[in-house]
């Protein structure tokens, strides 16, 4: 009897611990990998912050190919991981196919939209945040020429560039915006040397503020801008600290907060559609001890006024992806 008890007890304990281990949340990164100094890394930071604070662990996977998307979703869902967070717009199609098969699992997709009862979709209004840093760029520029270095030439990055150009033109209608994309392959997300070259080219055309929306390539942009004594603008995470006093500001896109919130809510993640814009602090401009000397009171007042106007809906920034065209700049 007692032997039986031990066995049953052991089995029950095993089942319990297995259950606890299974319910851990999972995150799947997009192509480009976990440490891309940008989007994926931001997602990782949020997950890691949650793990550090709670002392719990999470499952993670970096995909290598497109065929692995659905595979990764299904493997984690069948393993009992919940919620399963995925970062990147490319997840929309595989998730929309897989989500219905796992009604008890909640999925979170960042940067994409899937309409299903168990999916929380989060998209960011990057054009709004880019508009604000564009205003700051135009106000800080002495030459009236500012630059934009995008990563891979995809609609999402054009959305950044278009918002930025609108912000620049809102301050100085005659300003010139030079927009360059690093490339057309995913390698463009991690090519600091090319980023550096593009920055030098833009400087030679008169640019004295450069906004990098290019993942790991941006590291080269910021470095070259600092070397050449012009200002730069970081992206996604707050990158002001990289070159104190030389980075004007950063367009923050709080992917980390979204992952952190999803992990904190655990299995009770609220499904539905969420837009993270200036109004709910999903995007914004970063002010900290590293760049406060670069921003005057007038600049901050003006950009804050614009932020308030965007938040209240008085000011609408054109979204490139709404009609795939941009009134302020040509790509």
């Amino acid at each position: 009897m007692s032997f039986m008890k031990t066995i049953l007890g052991g089995a029950a304990a095993a089942a319990l611990t297995a259950g606890a281990a299974l319910a851990e949340p999972a995150i799947i990164y997009d192509l480009g990998g976990k440490f891309d100094k940008s989007f994926n890394e931001s997602a990782y930071t949020g997950a890691q912050r949650w793990a550090d604070e709670t002392g719990e662990s999470f499952a993670e996977f970096e995909i290598q190919s497109d065929a692995q998307r659905e595979q990764a979703i299904r493997r984690f869902a069948e393993n009992g991981n919940n919620p399963i967070v995925m970062a990147g717009f490319s997840w929309a199609t595989p998730l929309s196919e897989a989500a219905a098969d796992y009604p008890d699992t909640t999925f979170v997709i960042i940067d994409g939209v899937v309409e299903a009862d168990n999916v929380r979709s989060i998209v960011f209004s990057e054009h709004e945040g880019s508009y604000l840093v564009g205003m700051l760029a135009a106000m800080a520029s002495e030459t009236g020429t500012v630059g934009f270095v995008g990563g891979m030439d995809i609609p999402l990055i054009r959305k950044f560039g278009c918002g930025y150009a609108q912000g620049v033109k809102a301050v100085n209608e005659d300003a010139t915006v030079i927009a360059n994309m690093t490339g057309t392959t995913p390698a463009a997300w991690n090519d600091p040397v090319k980023g550096s070259e593009l920055t030098l080219a833009q400087i030679s055309q008169g640019a004295d503020v450069v906004f990098a929306a290019a993942g790991g390539t941006g590291v080269g942009v910021l470095q070259t801008a600092a070397d050449e004594d012009i200002l730069s603008i970081g992206v996604d995470s707050n990158q002001n600290y990289l070159h104190p006093g030389e980075v004007l500001t950063s367009m923050t896109k709080r992917v980390d907060n979204m992952v952190y919130d999803a992990f904190t809510a655990g299995e009770n993640v609220e499904p539905g559609f969420n837009v993270m814009g200036v109004a709910n602090e999903g995007v914004g401009y970063a002010v900290d001890e590293f760049n406060e000397e670069l921003l005057t009171e007038e600049m901050l007042a003006e950009v804050q006024a614009a932020a308030d106007a965007i938040a209240s809906g008085e000011l609408t920034v054109h979204d490139y992806m709404s009609d795939e065209s941009c009134p302020a700049v040509d790509f």
């Binding site: 290598q64 190919s65 497109d66 065929a67 692995q68 595979q71 392959t185």
Partner: protein, 383 residues
Amino acid sequence: MDKMPPWADAVLVPLFSLILAAIISAIVILLIGEDPWEAVKLMVDGAFGNTRNIGYTLYYATNFIFTGLAVAVAFHARMFNIGGEGQALLGGLGGAYAALYVPWPHWSLAILGGAVASAAFGAAWAAIPAYLQAKRGSHIVITTIMFNFIAAALLNYFLVGPLKAPGMEPATETFPAATHLPSFETMFDPLWKAIAGPEADVIFQRSPANITFFLALLACVAVWLLIWRTRIGYQIRAFGWSQPAARYAGYSATKLIMTAMLISGGLSGLMAVNQAMGDAERLVLNAVEGAGFIGIAVALMGRNHPVGVLLAAILFGALYQGGAELAFWTSIPREMIVVIQGLVILFTGALDNMVRMPLERLFVAGGYGKRPKAPKSPIKPAE
């Protein structure tokens, strides 16, 4: 005669190379603090543990068969086609146009149409470097690699522009249902149910392997016939062995370079049938994911022979799929998988002679090599 018997060359050399690669991989895994034996078990189980995993392995293998054959065919003419990546991208474009704009009544016609369009686009992309090589002497390695970048830019243009489906993603719309190719699940599960009863587990459940695998096997046979059983195949091989001799025999260098490269490009393009029509059912950016380059390793390891290519493709498919499983359940990072694949390529491809020469000496010392050369068997690699 100071040569090994052909079977040793075809079997032992790759085997020893693989073992060496495995040993170094195990050391690296040990160094990052993981258990290599566990890793091997996970990888093997991940690649072949159940029908679904096998389905993934065969799906990747299908891609690698096409790109491997492509490299092999070109190599028989001593053309080093490293543009498989770009040719496969363009093949995807051709396949996408065929699938989206032709109202196919049934998948059986769609696979034929898609294959023809993919192969034609892939071949067209190989035609320009081939022409430049034949007529202008521009080195094929340089031009094909440059064409990979042009292909990426071109595809990007189409997927951000004319072919883009509404929404965020740079991808085409989903192909019409009639062009969706039957997967292994739809093909084999009813059969399995008939054998094992209706309660049996679903086999190949949701794995991306599809009927294109059999198209790839057909391509293997076709390439073998082409290279070893046709006049043009003979000419290609002769040209590859000695260009002056081939010219002296009256073969046209331009014709042979063009033929070999067009077939090579067409085979690369066919990969898109598996990827775009078979699995994704739409065309996405980066659809090729390096399969064009893995094809080089596959051809090297497979000694440019279809049977070798098939086996090497399955090995690389298993590495790819097993590697993914490894990354799922351990903290071995994704980069480690690339290291393992790289080691396999290094040992089987680049360091080939490191294994072959000692083996050859061994055979010669053992007296095997002194026998008169065996008559050429059809399985013997061309090298």
